[in-house]
Point group: C2
Chain length 188, copies 2
């Protein structure tokens, strides 16, 4: 079953998060991460396309979850309703690892390169959700706009959820943000 020490990828991710929390992303070298995980630099780059990617391996699963949820939403649901529902499901899951989410977030918000990677993951998510909406029969540009609006809602809600002083329920924050968006775009 396990030829070498098991879970090399997980060990690298853990080592990276710990070192980033200490010395920051830029100051931490890939060689240090690999050494802490008892591996070599070359092996790191076999698991992760670049140094930043070590913090984003979960993004793919999140994307799969969201497009699945959009796909199985009741056919009576509106486009924005299907997206918001999917976001609530995702929020429920993310809520179970709040501490990890916060550590990861600390690393990302203090480094522009990591922020860039986060943003492109969200953009990719928007594209995938737009595709899932088109599969439900939603036309362009409604599909893309709805997906982008969904991302905006998620970003704002996530920001509020990870705020240390805030103990509110994540899915509830999603619902609230959608309500706010509806208000501000309403015609006078």
């Amino acid at each position: 079953m396990s030829r070498w020490e098991p879970n090399a990828k997980g060990r690298l991710e853990r080592a990276a998060l710990e070192l980033f929390a200490n010395g920051g992303f830029e100051q931490t070298t890939v060689a240090e991460i690999a050494e802490r995980a008892s591996l070599t630099e070359r092996t790191f780059f076999r698991y992760f396309g670049d140094k930043r990617e070590v913090l984003f391996s979960g993004a793919d699963r999140l994307q799969t979850l969201l497009i699945d949820e959009v796909a199985i939403a009741p056919s009576s649901a509106t486009a924005i309703g299907a997206v918001a529902g999917a976001l609530e499901v995702a929020a429920t899951l993310l809520q179970e690892n709040r501490q990890f989410a916060q550590q990861r977030r600390n690393a990302i918000t203090t480094n522009n390169e990591l922020l860039e990677r986060e943003l492109i993951k969200l953009a990719s998510l928007a594209v995938a959700m737009a595709e899932a909406l088109r599969a439900r029969g939603v036309k362009e540009p409604i599909a893309s706009l709805t997906a982008e609006a969904g991302i905006a809602i998620f970003k704002v809600a996530f920001e509020r959820w990870t705020d240390e002083s805030n103990k509110r329920d994540f899915p509830e924050l999603i619902r609230d943000s959608l309500g706010e968006l509806r208000k501000l775009t309403a015609l006078d």
Copy 2:
């Protein structure tokens, strides 16, 4: 006035765009760009923080323009109205350099690293516009949501404008996208 060949920064930008159009972003080395501009690699990095930044020096001016426009919008304007108005002004200016915009866009859409940089510039823009809205008395989270919605509108409209088969007026596309967003968020 001009000790060496003038406009070193502009020469580097032009050389980079030309080389990117030919061989692509990754295949082009900074040394090649510098050589084409009759400068050295070291000088390139004095003007641009990294290789990607050579395509984004105009982003700062765009941001300044947008927050100024938001600031001077009539006090009767709603938050989303002020943002949309600013976007229309920016669109009018960008419209004068459609070919440059398309070349630049070609480079960016075919390279993930450049896309990342584009996205973070837009995110920075959203943050700045939210700040400009708060200066108008708009409260959170309305300010942030409005700014994010504005970026979503801009992205969708820009996409449609640069579409080769599309000859529509850019500011008009902005207005249309806002209309679509209003429709899709409207309660049933």
